[in-house]
C-alpha cells in the first residue's frame, strides 16, 4: 500500500453539512496510484469522485484518513509545484489572454516565466491553439477553453496530474483526439495521472486501472485493472475485448 511518489489515500472519510442535511460524501476511500500509473475514477453524479480529487489537491480536508501526494501532504506537494490540475469547467480568468492564463500556476508558485517561454509555446502548440496565444477566453469556443486549461495543467512539468472531467465540454471527435494526446503526454512526461470522468470508454482507453464509485454514501465498489498494451491506438476503441471491459464496468457502475 506504499506509493511514496504517487497518489495514496487511505481510509478517507468526508461528510458535508448543508441546509440541515448531513451528507456522507466519502466513506472509507482507499486508493493508490503508484508513480507513473494512470488511474481513472468513474461513477454517477454525486458519488464523491470530485471530492476525492479536491481532497487529493488539498482544497478540502478529509475528516479522517491519510492522504499522501508525491510523498507528502497535498498542500506541500502543491507548493512544491509537483502537481498540475485541470478542472471540470475551464476556470480561465477572463481578463487574461490564453498565454497569460497558462502562466498562472508559474506566477502562483513564484517561478519566473521567462525560462519557460519555449515550454509554454510548446504546450500551446500541443493543445492545438497556435495562433490564439493572445486571444481572450471570451473569444474562444468551449472546447478551446478546455484545451487552454489542459495546457495550463501541464505548464509546471507536474509529477502528478489531476484532471476533473477535462474533456466534458468537447465533442466526441475532439475528445478522442485529446485522449490520444493525453496518452502521449502522459507517456512522455512519465507523470502519475488521476482522471475523474463520466465516460467509460475514455477511462478504459486511458487508464491502468478504473476505480468505480457509488453514491450515498460515496464509496469505492470496485477497482478494475486494464491490461491493454501501450501505446494504445485508436483502433482499440473498436476492439471486441475493449467493449467487453467497458460492458463489465457499466454493469458494476449500475449496481450489477
Amino acid at each position: 500500500m506504499s506509493a511514496p511518489d504517487g497518489i495514496s489515500l487511505s481510509g478517507v472519510c468526508k461528510t458535508f453539512t448543508g441546509r440541515g442535511k448531513v451528507v456522507e460524501a466519502l466513506r472509507d476511500v482507499t486508493l493508490s496510484g503508484p508513480m507513473g500509473s494512470f488511474t481513472a475514477i468513474i461513477g454517477p453524479s454525486g458519488c464523491g469522485k470530485s471530492t476525492v480529487m479536491r481532497i487529493a489537491l488539498g482544497l478540502e480536508a478529509a475528516d479522517a484518513g491519510e492522504v499522501q501526494i508525491a510523498g507528502t501532504v497535498p498542500m506541500q506537494a502543491a507548493k512544491a509545484g509537483k502537481t498540475g490540475v485541470a478542472f471540470q469547467d475551464a476556470a480561465l480568468l477572463p481578463w487574461r489572454s490564453v498565454r497569460r492564463n497558462i502562466e498562472v500556476p508559474l506566477e502562483v508558485l513564484g517561478r519566473s516565466v521567462a525560462p519557460e517561454t519555449a515550454h509554454i509555446q510548446h504546450m500551446i502548440d500541443l493543445v492545438g491553439l497556435k495562433g490564439y496565444e493572445n486571444a481572450l477566453p471570451g473569444e474562444l469556443s468551449g472546447g478551446m477553453r478546455q484545451r487552454v486549461s489542459i495546457a495550463r495543467a501541464l505548464v509546471t512539468h507536474p509529477q502528478i496530474l489531476f484532471m476533473d472531467e477535462p474533456f466534458g465540454a468537447l465533442d466526441q471527435i475532439l475528445r478522442r483526439q485529446m485522449n490520444l494526446e493525453l496518452q502521449r503526454i502522459w507517456t512522455e512526461t512519465g507523470s502519475t495521472a488521476l482522471l475523474v470522468t463520466h465516460g467509460i470508454d475514455e477511462a478504459v482507453f486511458l487508464a491502468d486501472r478504473v476505480v468505480v464509485m457509488h453514491a450515498n454514501p460515496g464509496r469505492i465498489v470496485d477497482v478494475i485493472d486494464i491490461g491493454f498494451d501501450r501505446p494504445r491506438a485508436p483502433a482499440l476503441f473498436s476492439d471486441p475485448e475493449f467493449h467487453k471491459v467497458c460492458d463489465h464496468i457499466a454493469e458494476v457502475l449500475h449496481g450489477g
Partner: protein, 523 residues
C-alpha cells in the same frame, strides 16, 4: 434547516446586541449630548405622541400607494413596449437614464409649482417606482427561455402567443422582485416630496417640522415609523413573491439602464435615433408644462431656462450664483462617493478573507436597502450638526450600503473553480485575492459606481437643503423662498443633467475598460 436557523439566530443575536448598545449609549447621552436617545426613551415618546401619527402616516401612505400603482402601471406598460421594440427602448434611453439618475429633491419644488394637492407627492413616488419596475419588466421579458419560444414558434405561434405563453410567465419573478424594491422607493419618494413641498401632513413634513425643536426622541420616533413603513412595504411584496413563485432573490436590482442590441441599421437612422434620444427628455419636459397649463412666469420650458441663464437681465447674477453653488456641491459629492465606494470595496474584498465576520454584517446591510436612508438626514443633523461633516456622512451612508451589497453579491458569483485554481497550486489568500478576487470584482465596482452616482448627489443636496445652507440644495431652497422661479427650474435642470452626464461617463469608461479586459458588464 440547521444552518438556516443558526444563521437567523446569529442575525437576531447581532440585532439584539446592537439594540442593547444603542440603549446604553442613549441612556448615558454619549452621542452629541443626547442627540441619540435610548430605545426606551424613543418608544415612550412615540407612545406620548401617538395622537399625532395617524394623519401623518395616512398622508404618506396615501401618496406612496397611489404613486406605487401609477408608477407600476407606467413601468410595466413601458417595459412591455421596450421589450417588443428595441427602437423604442433606444429612443427612450435618455428619458430612462434621467428617470433613474435625477435627484428627487431637485424636482420636488418643480412638481409643487406645477401640480397641486397630493399630486407632487404621488408623482415623485411614481417616479421612484417607474424605473425599477420598467427595468425588471424589460429584463424579465427578454430573458425568456429561447427553447420555449422556439417551441411556440415551431407550431406557428405569433409574437403575441410567445409574449402571452412564455414571456409574461417567465418575467413574473423578475417583475415581482422589482415590485419589492419599488415599494420602499415609493415611500421614500413621497417623503422627499414632503421635504421639498411644504404641506402640513405626512411623515416628511412631521420630521421637518420637528427638526427645529430640539427633541431628539420625537425625531427618532418619526424616523423609526418611516423606516418601519418602508420595511413593511418591502416585506409584503417579498412574502407575496415567495408565496406565489418562490422568488426570494436579492433585495437589490440592477442599476443598468436596459440597452438594446447594437444597431445594424443605416447611419441616417442611427443618427436620427441618437438625436431623438437626446431631445426626447426635453420634449417630455416641454409637454409636461403645456399639459399642466401653468403660466409662463412660474413654469419654465427648456428654452425658458436657457433664456433665464444666458439672456435675461439677471443672467449674470444667476450664473454667478449657480457656479458658486456648483463649486460647493460637486467636490463634496465626489469625495463622499469615493469614500462610500472605497469603504464598500475594502469591506467586500476583506469579506472574502474572513467570511464569518461579514456574515453578521450582511443582514444589516440588506436591511438598509429597504430603509429611506436619505429621509433620515434630520436625525444625522442632530448628531453631526450642520457642518460639512454632515454632508459627507449623509453621502457616505447613502452610497456605502448599496455599493457594499452590489459588490458582495457580485463577488459571491465568482466561480469556485476560478478561486480553487491558485489555491490548488498552494497560493495564499493574498495571492488568490490579487489574481482572482480583485480583478473579478471590477465589473461590480463599476455597477456600484453607476448605482451610487445619483445617490451621492441626492445625499449632498438633501444635506445642503435641510441643514448646511450651502451649494445647490441650498440654492434651490432659497430660490423657493424668493419665488425665483427661473432659478428653481435651472437648478433642477442642471442637477438632473449633471446626474445623467456622470452616469453616462461611468458607463462609457466601464465599457471601454471591461471590453479591453474581455469582461462583461455586470447587470
Amino acid at each position: 434547516m440547521a444552518v438556516e436557523a443558526s444563521g437567523r439566530w446569529r442575525g437576531m443575536r447581532t440585532t439584539a446586541i446592537l439594540l442593547v448598545i444603542w440603549e446604553i449609549v442613549g441612556q448615558l447621552d454619549l452621542v452629541a449630548g443626547g442627540a441619540l436617545p435610548g430605545i426606551s426613551e424613543i418608544l415612550i415618546r412615540l407612545w406620548v405622541d401617538w395622537g399625532d401619527y395617524p394623519r401623518h402616516i395616512w398622508a404618506t401612505l396615501y401618496a406612496s400607494t397611489i404613486g406605487f400603482l401609477i408608477g407600476n402601471a407606467l413601468g410595466i406598460g413601458a417595459g412591455v413596449i421596450f421589450a417588443l421594440s428595441p427602437t423604442a427602448l433606444r429612443l427612450f434611453r435618455g428619458v430612462n437614464i434621467a428617470a433613474f439618475a435625477l435627484p428627487p429633491i431637485a424636482i420636488a419644488p418643480i412638481l409643487v409649482l406645477t401640480l397641486s394637492g397630493m399630486a407632487p407627492r404621488i408623482a415623485l413616488a411614481a417616479l421612484g417606482v417607474y424605473f425599477v419596475t420598467m427595468t425588471a419588466t424589460v429584463i424579465g421579458l427578454s430573458q425568456a427561455d429561447s427553447r420555449a419560444t422556439d417551441v411556440i414558434r415551431a407550431y406557428g405561434g405569433t409574437r403575441w402567443d410567445i409574449l402571452r405563453r412564455v414571456q409574461f410567465r417567465g418575467a413574473l419573478p423578475s417583475i415581482l422582485a422589482g415590485l419589492r424594491v419599488a415599494a420602499p422607493n415609493a415611500v421614500l419618494g413621497a417623503i422627499l416630496a414632503e421635504f421639498g413641498g411644504g404641506g402640513r401632513w405626512g411623515l416628511g413634513a412631521y420630521l421637518l417640522g420637528s427638526l427645529g425643536r430640539g427633541e431628539p426622541d420625537r425625531l427618532w420616533g418619526i424616523g423609526l415609523v418611516a423606516t418601519l413603513i418602508a420595511g413593511l412595504s418591502y416585506g409584503v411584496f417579498a412574502l407575496l413573491a415567495s408565496r406565489t413563485i418562490g422568488a426570494t432573490r436579492a433585495v437589490t436590482l440592477n442599476t443598468a439602464v436596459p440597452d438594446a442590441a447594437p444597431m445594424t441599421s443605416a447611419p441616417i437612422k442611427r443618427i436620427a435615433l441618437t438625436l431623438g434620444t437626446i431631445t426626447l427628455p426635453f420634449l417630455v419636459w416641454w409637454a409636461f408644462i403645456k399639459a399642466t397649463g401653468v403660466p409662463d412666469l412660474i413654469s419654465k420650458t427648456p428654452l425658458g431656462v436657457v433664456d433665464y441663464l444666458f439672456f435675461a437681465p439677471t443672467a449674470e447674477s444667476a450664473q454667478t450664483r449657480l457656479l458658486a453653488a456648483l463649486a460647493e456641491t460637486l467636490p463634496i459629492t465626489f469625495v463622499g462617493m469615493a469614500a462610500g465606494l472605497g469603504f464598500a470595496f475594502l469591506l467586500a474584498i476583506s469579506s472574502r478573507l474572513s467570511p464569518r465576520a461579514i456574515e453578521a454584517f450582511m443582514p444589516v446591510a440588506l436591511v438598509t436597502q429597504t430603509m429611506p436612508l436619505v429621509a433620515l438626514t434630520p436625525l444625522l443633523v442632530l448628531i453631526l450638526g450642520r457642518g460639512t461633516s454632515l454632508t459627507l456622512w449623509v453621502t457616505i451612508s447613502v452610497t456605502f450600503f448599496p455599493a457594499f451589497v452590489t459588490l458582495a453579491q457580485g463577488l459571491a458569483l465568482v466561480p469556485r473553480s476560478a478561486e480553487d485554481l491558485p489555491r490548488a497550486y498552494g497560493a495564499g489568500r493574498w495571492t488568490e485575492m490579487r489574481m482572482v478576487t480583485i480583478p473579478a470584482s471590477l465589473p461590480y465596482l463599476f455597477a456600484a459606481t453607476r448605482l451610487t452616482v445619483p445617490r451621492a448627489l441626492l445625499g449632498v443636496m438633501i444635506a445642503e437643503w435641510l441643514a448646511t445652507g450651502k451649494g445647490l440644495g441650498n440654492l434651490l431652497n432659497q430660490s423657493r423662498g424668493f419665488l425665483d422661479y427661473g432659478m428653481i427650474w435651472t437648478v433642477a435642470a442642471v442637477s438632473v443633467l449633471l446626474s445623467v452626464i456622470f452616469y453616462q461617463a461611468v458607463v462609457i469608461v466601464e465599457r471601454r475598460v471591461l471590453r479591453r479586459l474581455g469582461m462583461a458588464t455586470a447587470e
